[in-house]
C-alpha cells in the first residue's frame, strides 16, 4: 500500500487529554434564561451593573441568529440543553496542598503541568527568584481555580486575576474596557458570551511596565453538557509590554460541547501585547463523533501610536473552529500580526483567519497562516484586510499556505481585501502543497520513520509561526503537532 493510502486508512490515535475528572460539582440546571443569568451573577457575587450588562446582552442575543457564512457544518445546537455554570464544590484558594481536591491535582498532573507548577496552582506562592517564571491562571469549567505569582506581579503593579474577581475588585477598569473592543452585539456568540460568561483572565499592565514573566491560562472543560464561556480582558497602558499564553483541553466525550469565548486586548501608545494560544480542545473521534465546538471572538485594539498586538495560534483541537483573532489598528504606525497554524484531521472543520482593520496612518500588519489538513477534514483560511481612507501609507503582507495530507481533505483560502486609500500597499501570497510521496520516501531512505518524516516536513512548513511562540511553548507546540498528526500516518 502506498504511504498516502496508508495515511488515509489510518485512524487517529487516542486524544491524550481525554480523561474526565471526578470532582463534586456545583451545577446550574440546564437551560438559558434570565434566572440562570441571575444565578451565575449571584454565584460570582457580582455588582448590579454586571448583572445588568449580562441581561442586556441576553436580550440582544435572543434577537440574533447564528452566523451561516463559515465553511462549517453541524447539527443545530440546542442552547437550552446545556449547563451554563459548573464549578468544583470546594472553594478555590486553598492554603496548603492538603486542602486541594486531590482529583484536581490529578488533573493538573494529567495535563502535563509540571509538579512545581501544580503546587503553585494549588496556592503556594513560589520563590520569585526561580526561572523560568510563568504565572498561571487555571480555569476549570466555569471558575478560575488558582492564579499564581500574584504577589510578585502586584509589586510592579501588574494585575493578573480571574475576571470574576476583577469585576469585584477593579470595577472601574472592567467597566471602562469590557465590551469596548468586542461590543456585546458584535456577533451571535459574543452576545451569548456577554450574557453567560463565567470566568477567564484579567490582565492590567500599568504605564511603562514590562511584565516580568509570561502570563498563562489553562482552560479546561470537564463537566458533561456544559458550555464554557470564558472572557479575557488584557489592557496594556502606554509603554507596557506583556506576553500571554493560553492552553485549552477537554475530556473525550461523544456529545459535542460548546465553547464560546471572547478575548479583548487594548494596547495604548508604544504598548505591546503578544497573545499566544495553543488550542487543543477534544477534536472528536475518527468518525467525527463528539468534540468541542469552538466559536471564539478575539480582537485587539491598537489604540495608541506605535502600539503592537501580535496573535500567535497553534490550533490542533476542536471538532469545529470558528475563530478570527483580529486587530483594529487605530494608532499611527501601529502594528498588527497574526501567525497561525491550524491542523485538521479526521472530520475536523476549521474556519479561521484574521481581520486587520487599518485606521491609523502608517499602520502595518502581517498575516502568516499555515493550514494543515489530513483525513477528511476541511481547513479554511478566511481573512479580511480593510484599509480605511485615513490609513495613508498602510501596509499589509499576507502569506497563506496550505499543506494537504491525503486526497480526501480540503484546504480553502478566502481572502477579502478592501483598500480605500490609494497609498496603501496590500500583498497576498497563497500556496497549496501536498506532502509528496517522494518527500516521504527521501526522508525514509535516509533512515527516518514515516512519522518522523511527516513531523519534519510539517514542522518545516510551520516554522515561521512556531518561532513566534515563547520558547517553552514552541517545544510543546511541536510535540502537539506530532501527536495530532500521529494517526495520519500509516
Amino acid at each position: 500500500m502506498s504511504a498516502t493510502a496508508e495515511i488515509l486508512d489510518s485512524v487517529q490515535s487516542g486524544y491524550k487529554w481525554g480523561f474526565e475528572t471526578d470532582i463534586e460539582m456545583d451545577l446550574a440546571p440546564k437551560g438559558l434564561n434570565e434566572d440562570i443569568i441571575r444565578l451565575i451573577s449571584s454565584r460570582k457575587d457580582e455588582p448590579a451593573w454586571m448583572l445588568e450588562y449580562r441581561l442586556k446582552a441576553f436580550t440582544a442575543w435572543k434577537q440574533m441568529a447564528e452566523p451561516e457564512w463559515a465553511r462549517v457544518q453541524h447539527p443545530p445546537i440546542d442552547y437550552q440543553d446545556l449547563h451554563y455554570y459548573a464549578a468544583p464544590k470546594k472553594k478555590a484558594g486553598p492554603k496548603s496542598l492538603d486542602e486541594v481536591d486531590p482529583e484536581l491535582l490529578k488533573m493538573y498532573e494529567k495535563l502535563g503541568i509540571p509538579l512545581k507548577e501544580r503546587a503553585i496552582l494549588a496556592g503556594v506562592e513560589p520563590d520569585p527568584n526561580e526561572r523560568p517564571q510563568i504565572a498561571v491562571d487555571a480555569v476549570f469549567d466555569s471558575v478560575s481555580v488558582a492564579t499564581t505569582f500574584r504577589e510578585t506581579l502586584s509589586k510592579v503593579g501588574v494585575i493578573f486575576c480571574p475576571i470574576s474577581e476583577a469585576v469585584r475588585d477593579h470595577p472601574d477598569l472592567v467597566k471602562q474596557y469590557l465590551g469596548s473592543v468586542v461590543p456585546v452585539a458584535d456577533n451571535y456568540f459574543s452576545a451569548l458570551n456577554a450574557a453567560v460568561f463565567t470566568d477567564g483572565s484579567f490582565v492590567y499592565i500599568p504605564k511603562g511596565v514590562r511584565c516580568p514573566m509570561e502570563l498563562s491560562t489553562y482552560f479546561r472543560i470537564n463537566a458533561r453538557n456544559t458550555g464554557q464561556f470564558e472572557r479575557t480582558l488584557i489592557i496594556a497602558e502606554a509603554g507596557a509590554h506583556v506576553s500571554y499564553l493560553e492552553g485549552c483541553t477537554a475530556p473525550q466525550r461523544d456529545e459535542n460541547q460548546l465553547h464560546a469565548a471572547v478575548v479583548e486586548l487594548i494596547a495604548m501608545d508604544d504598548a505591546t501585547i503578544k497573545y499566544s494560544t495553543v488550542q487543543n480542545w477534544y477534536p472528536g473521534d475518527a468518525d467525527g463523533k463528539g468534540g468541542i465546538y469552538n466559536f471564539v471572538t478575539k480582537r485587539g485594539a491598537c489604540r495608541g501610536a506605535r502600539s503592537k498586538i501580535s496573535w500567535t495560534q497553534v490550533e490542533t483541537g476542536s471538532a469545529i473552529t470558528w475563530k478570527y483573532p483580529s486587530c483594529v489598528l487605530i494608532g499611527e504606525d501601529s502594528v498588527g500580526e497574526f501567525y497561525s497554524v491550524a491542523v485538521t484531521t479526521n472530520h475536523q472543520q476549521a474556519d479561521t483567519g484574521t481581520k486587520m482593520i487599518h485606521i491609523g496612518k502608517g499602520s502595518r500588519s502581517t498575516i502568516v497562516s499555515k493550514g494543515i489538513s489530513a483525513g477528511r477534514s476541511n481547513n479554511t483560511y478566511r481573512g479580511l484586510v480593510r484599509i480605511l481612507p485615513s490609513a495613508a501609507g498602510a501596509r499589509n503582507h499576507t502569506q497563506c499556505d496550505s499543506l494537504l495530507i491525503g486526497d480526501e481533505c480540503g484546504a480553502h483560502t478566502v481572502p477579502y481585501i478592501e483598500s480605500r486609500n490609494p497609498s496603501a500597499k496590500v500583498e497576498h501570497e497563497a500556496t497549496t502543497s501536498k506532502i509528496a510521496e517522494d518527500q516521504l520516501f527521501y526522508c525514509r531512505q535516509r533512515g527516518l520513520s514515516e512519522e518522523d518524516a511527516v513531523n519534519l516536513i510539517v514542522n518545516g512548513f510551520c516554522k515561521e509561526v512556531l518561532k513566534e511562540l515563547p520558547m517553552e511553548f514552541a517545544v510543546e507546540a511541536q510535540k502537539l503537532l506530532a501527536v495530532s498528526l500521529e494517526g495520519s500516518v500509516g
Binding site: A3, E437, F441, C443, R444, Q445, R446, G447, G460, K463
Partner: protein, 249 residues
C-alpha cells in the same frame, strides 16, 4: 555482499525490471551503464524500497539479510544509501536538522548514542570542508533553491555523514563540472573499505577514471545484457550502446 537474483519489478502493470542477476562483493565498486529508460533508476528505487515499485519475482540479499522484506528506513539502517538522480526538496526543513535527524535515526538503529547539535555540527563542518562545500549549505533548506550541482553535492555530503555499507549513486555525476565530478569521486573513494560496496549509475567514463570500478554492467530493457571490466566503459564511451544492444538482440 549484495546478491540480486532473478529480480523482476513493475510500476503499476508495466514490467520494468525483467530479471536482474547481479553480485557485488564487499569492497567492490560496480558501474551500471545503459540507455535512458532502461531501468537503472528503477533498480536503485527497488533496492531502497520505494512504494510505487512492485517486486514481482526474484530476491535481493545484502550481507545475508533479505532486503525486500524491510521498510525503506530499515534498509537505510542496514546501510543502504541511494543518492537520488533528482534529489527532493524539503521546504522549511533546515539541512543540518535533516541530516542530524537522519544520522541519529541510523545511530539509534545501531544502538549508538545520538549526537547533539554541537557534536553534529562539528562533524558536518568537517565533511563540508572536505567536500569543498560552502558552510551555508547546512543552514539552507534541504535542496530548496540549490543548483543542480549543489543538490548532487548535498547527496554526497549525506552519504559521507551516514557512512553507508552499500551506496547506490544514480547519475550523481550528471551535469557536474570537472571539479564537482572529482568531489563525487573522492566522496566514494573516501568510503572505500573492505566492508563498503557501491553501485554507480553513470553515462560518463570521466567519473570512472577517478573511481576505477571493479566491474561494469550494461542494463538495457530491464536486463543486464553485458558485463565486463573497466575497459567495457571505455569501449562504450567510444562506440555507444548500439553495438552492445545489437549483439544482445
Amino acid at each position: 555482499m549484495l546478491e540480486i537474483r532473478g529480480l523482476t519489478a513493475s510500476i503499476g502493470e508495466k514490467p520494468i525490471l525483467k530479471g536482474i542477476d547481479l553480485v557485488v562483493p564487499d569492497g567492490e565498486v560496480h558501474a551500471i551503464m545503459g540507455p535512458n529508460g532502461s531501468g537503472k533508476s528503477t533498480l536503485g528505487y527497488v533496492l531502497s524500497g520505494r512504494d510505487d515499485y512492485t517486486v514481482t519475482g526474484g530476491s535481493v540479499t545484502f550481507n545475508g539479510i533479505d532486503l525486500l522484506d524491510l521498510e525503506p528506513e530499515a534498509r537505510a539502517a542496514a546501510g543502504v544509501f541511494l543518492a537520488f538522480q533528482a534529489p527532493i526538496e524539503l521546504p522549511g526543513v533546515n539541512n543540518a536538522n535533516f541530516l542530524r535527524t537522519a544520522l541519529n535515526a541510523i545511530r539509534r538503529a545501531h544502538g549508538e548514542s545520538e549526537l547533539d547539535a554541537i557534536q553534529f555540527l562539528k562533524l558536518a563542518r568537517a565533511e563540508t570542508k572536505r567536500l569543498a562545500m560552502p558552510d551555508d549549505m547546512l543552514k539552507r533548506n534541504v535542496n530548496v533553491g540549490f543548483s543542480g550541482g549543489e543538490k548532487k553535492r548535498n547527496e554526497v555530503l549525506q552519504m559521507a555523514l551516514l557512512r553507508p555499507k552499500l551506496a547506490i549513486l544514480d547519475e550523481t555525476d550528471s551535469g557536474l563540472d570537472i571539479d564537482a565530478l572529482k568531489i563525487v569521486a573522492d566522496g566514494v573513494n573516501a568510503l572505500r573499505s573492505p566492508t563498503f560496496s557501491a553501485l554507480v549509475v553513470t553515462h560518463h567514463q570521466r567519473l570512472l577514471d577517478h573511481l576505477v570500478p571493479n566491474r561494469v554492467h550494461v542494463l538495457a530493457h530491464g536486463r543486464i545484457i553485458r558485463s565486463g571490466g573497466p575497459e567495457l566503459a571505455k569501449e562504450l564511451e567510444k562506440s555507444g550502446y548500439a553495438d552492445v544492444l545489437a549483439a544482445a538482440a
